[in-house]
């Protein structure tokens, strides 16, 4: 008998055939990541939770349309991105979708209780992220926090890789200018 870990690729076909337990297992693997992605681009816990639920419901309804199980992550995040921007559009229909910033939370996204970083640094990071444009922030979230490759980011954001790189590198330059000196001072 051979034991091996159950993978997404095993769960996806089962879930697509209507196996709710398989889908729940799949959700449990991804819900935290999707929630945090949505939290960083909406900067609102309630919205992030509501959107996460919508994302997984929509994903369940459309799972049969996913041809390649290995593309599940970018496919799921594409749904999440669309859901978030659909919400922004509903709330501020007069604004251009590409320029829609998330709602400001005032104090930024709070830091987890178990953080080992000083609170000042966390606030500085939250402030620096808030000052980026919505597109730059999303590029940083997808690359730095979620670890996607450029091609996957292009699929999620439905834009060319060159655009993804441009957004990300501009954001990194801005963040570096703000955060690297602070960190350097902290270290020395």
């Amino acid at each position: 008998m051979i034991f091996r870990a159950v993978e997404d690729a095993d769960l996806i076909p089962q879930a697509a055939r209507g196996n709710v337990e398989a889908y729940n297992l799949l959700v449990s693997r991804w819900e935290k990541r999707v929630y945090n992605y949505l939290l960083r681009i909406t900067a609102n816990r309630e919205d992030a939770l509501d959107l996460t639920q919508d994302v997984f419901l929509k994903a369940y309804q459309n799972l049969r349309k996913l041809d390649d199980a290995s593309r599940f992550a970018p496919w799921l995040y594409r749904i999440a991105h669309n859901e978030a921007y659909s919400m922004f559009r509903k709330r501020r229909p007069e604004t251009d979708v590409d320029e829609l910033p998330p709602e400001s939370t005032g104090s930024g996204i709070t830091v987890g209780g178990s953080s080992v970083f000083p609170i000042e640094l966390s606030l500085a990071v939250a402030g620096a992220l808030e000052r980026l444009s919505a597109e730059q922030r999303e590029a940083v979230v997808l690359k730095i926090y979620q670890g996607f490759k450029f091609e996957e980011m292009a699929e999620i954001l439905a834009c060319p890789v060159s655009t993804v790189k441009s957004r990300l590198y501009t954001a990194l330059d801005l963040l570096k200018a703000e955060l690297a000196p602070i960190r350097a001072r902290g270290v020395s």
Binding site: Y145, L179, R183
Partner: protein
């Protein structure tokens, strides 16, 4: 401004191929300004990780509800039409069925000659029918005979023509040989 052979940010984000990654690493050994730039990127990333992932406040779970679940038949139907191969097979089966039904239900063409004959023979005695058949058979036999004669005559003509052509060739060859030997003989005598 970085002097690295490839973009340091690509290197930092692990987006370079392995050989390029190695080239940048070799460059970093000798370039303090690129090392400093890379350090700044690392510091930025470490600072960004100060924002930790949060736990989801409420777990998401889907409950199997018999009311909303499709029936086994509908699940089978959905799975059936969801598969490309099975869809192709179903299309082929439907096409075959359509051809079969069309072949079975199409009315056969009426045998016109037989119908005409039936109409014509209505009200005739068997002797008359017999005599008509005999006449028709004789007529057909004569026609076949005439065709055969014509064909035979054509064949005979063709054979004669072919033989004449052969004969002509043989004569021509003989003439040519005769000329050749005559010239050779004349040359030998001189």
């Amino acid at each position: 401004m970085s002097c690295s052979p490839f973009d340091l940010r690509d290197y930092f984000l692990r987006e370079l191929t392995n050989p390029r990654q190695l080239q940048v690493e070799a460059h970093l050994e000798t370039c303090p300004s690129c090392r400093e730039e890379l350090d700044r990127l690392r510091v930025t990333q470490t600072a960004l990780f100060a924002l930790r992932e949060e736990e989801i406040p409420q777990r998401i779970g889907f409950v199997s509800d018999k009311i909303f679940e499709p029936s086994p038949w509908r699940r089978f139907w959905a799975a059936f039409w969801g598969s490309g191969a099975r869809l192709g097979f179903a299309s082929a089966a439907m096409l075959s069925a359509a051809l079969l039904v069309s072949a079975l239900t199409r009315p056969a063409p009426a045998p016109l000659a037989q119908t005409r004959s039936t109409v014509a023979t209505a009200g005739l005695s068997s002797a008359e029918i017999e005599s008509r058949i005999q006449a028709a058979v004789q007529k057909a036999a004569l026609e076949i005979e005439a065709r055969q004669e014509k064909k035979t005559a054509q064949l005979v003509r063709d054979i004669e023509l072919r033989d004449q052509a052969k004969l002509h060739n043989v004569v021509a060859l003989a003439d040519a040989q005769f000329d050749y030997y005559r010239q050779r003989y004349a040359g030998a005598n001189q």
